[in-house]
Amino acid sequence: MSRTGVEVDLPEGLDPTLNELFNRDPLEWESKDRAVVIAHLRETREIFAKEDKQAKTKGKPANAKAAIKSGGTKNLTLDDLGLGDL
């Protein structure tokens, strides 16, 4: 819960440091805080792009849920994406 009483809806399994950051009032974030968030989102984008490409070659686009959950800290498999039975 942020200072303003607004809860930020976050992906499950987010890194604790990021969790703590998002649960501070984002309106008071400084440049370095935003840089951390940008770096995290870049990681998730990279993972999503990779998984999406892999999944597309199997004929089904990734739903990306696992990519976001991992926050870049976990090696994903098609099972994570619910595509293991393809």
């Binding site: 942020s2 992906p11 998002f22 984002p26 935003r34 968030v37 870049r42 739903n63």
Partner: protein
């Protein structure tokens, strides 16, 4: 219902003879008139806005603000990373409720995390993480400012009574792409594909923007680029579509628009805005549907309980630090 009228101080109304006649039209007000005259009356003339959560509006406003600041900072010579950081700050600052607190979205795909992700992924996607600038290059205006969230206005028509009408609005972005000029517009959506882009041709906003782009640049533009941004719970995807209009199509729209404005004048003269009950289910359902299904004598109570006044005035500038 005339006691609800809120045109005083609204820069888009200015006719002494017809106080309810809008003389500066943008695509939102014109589109609303075409959709339903009664919706137009409530939304534009009375300035009524539903109290219900408005995820798409808040999300879209914040995303647009972030894009504007990014283009400004890049034009000032800042790097991609620094501009992105400032764009994110601007987007966050704009993602607030009426009390100035961080907005709490009903749907996760329009939530705060999704906003940050859409801003970062979009700008990184089209600028290759800063290694290769977007091929749709920002047009720089004569004053050196980038053409981002650019307010425009031009004389459109003088009617038989001598009343002057203008068209105007706000371009998200004016760009040069493969040696041709385009207006670029950001559209967030739940799903992307050919059907999504097909929805924009014909389209009131895209035609007005094409004409407006020609006037603002003083030379023909090739059309409108739509930056489609798919916002899902766990990801974003991006796709660009192009809307082009022939000269004949533009001329046809101009003649049609004169007639629509003449129709608005008739409504303003009569003080009566008929309900188009074939439009109530469009765009996820009209926010005034509950009002319209209530007997006219009881509508004030619903309006008082479920709406607030937020004037729609296209004459207000959106540029950063406008002169």
């Amino acid at each position: 219902m005339h006691h609800l009228i809120a045109t005083d101080g609204n820069g888009s109304f200015g006719s002494a003879e017809y106080p309810l006649l809008q003389t500066l039209w943008d695509s939102t007000s014109l589109g609303t008139l075409k959709e339903c005259p009664m919706k137009y009356f409530y939304q534009v003339i009375c300035g009524l806005q539903s109290n219900k959560p408005k995820d798409p509006l808040v999300f879209g406003t914040a995303f647009h603000r972030a894009m504007q600041i990014y283009h400004y900072r890049i034009a000032e010579g800042l790097s991609h990373d620094v501009s992105l950081n400032e764009a994110l700050a601007a987007g966050i600052e704009a993602y607030v409720d009426n009390d100035g607190n961080l907005y709490q979205a009903v749907k996760k795909e329009r939530g705060f995390y999704a906003l940050c992700r859409a801003i970062v992924w979009h700008l990184d996607h089209f600028n290759d993480l800063g290694f290769k600038p977007d091929p749709a290059k920002t047009v720089l205006l004569a004053n050196g400012k980038p053409a981002a969230e650019l307010t425009f206005r031009f004389h459109f028509h003088t009617d038989e009574e001598g009343i002057e009408f203008s068209l105007g609005g706000h371009f998200d972005h004016l760009v040069e792409y493969l040696n041709r000029f385009y207006v670029k517009d950001y559209k967030t959506t739940a799903s992307l594909g050919p059907q999504f882009f097909d929805n924009f041709n014909p389209d009131n906003q895209m035609t007005l923007y094409t004409i407006g782009g020609n006037v603002v640049l003083g030379k023909p533009i090739a059309g409108v680029i739509i930056d489609g941004i798919q916002t899902a719970v766990h990801f974003n995807r991006f796709q660009r579509g192009f809307v082009t209009k022939s000269k004949e199509n533009l001329e046809e729209w101009i003649e049609d628009t004169k007639l629509w404005i003449e129709t608005a004048k008739t409504y303003a003269r009569l003080g009566h805005y008929p309900m188009n009950d074939k439009s109530c289910d469009k765009y996820g359902g009209c926010p005034f549907r509950d009002v319209c299904r209530t007997p006219p004598s009881l509508r004030d109570n619903i309006i008082r309980d479920h709406f607030h006044v937020r004037i729609w005035d296209p004459s207000i500038d959106r540029e950063e630090n406008p002169a």
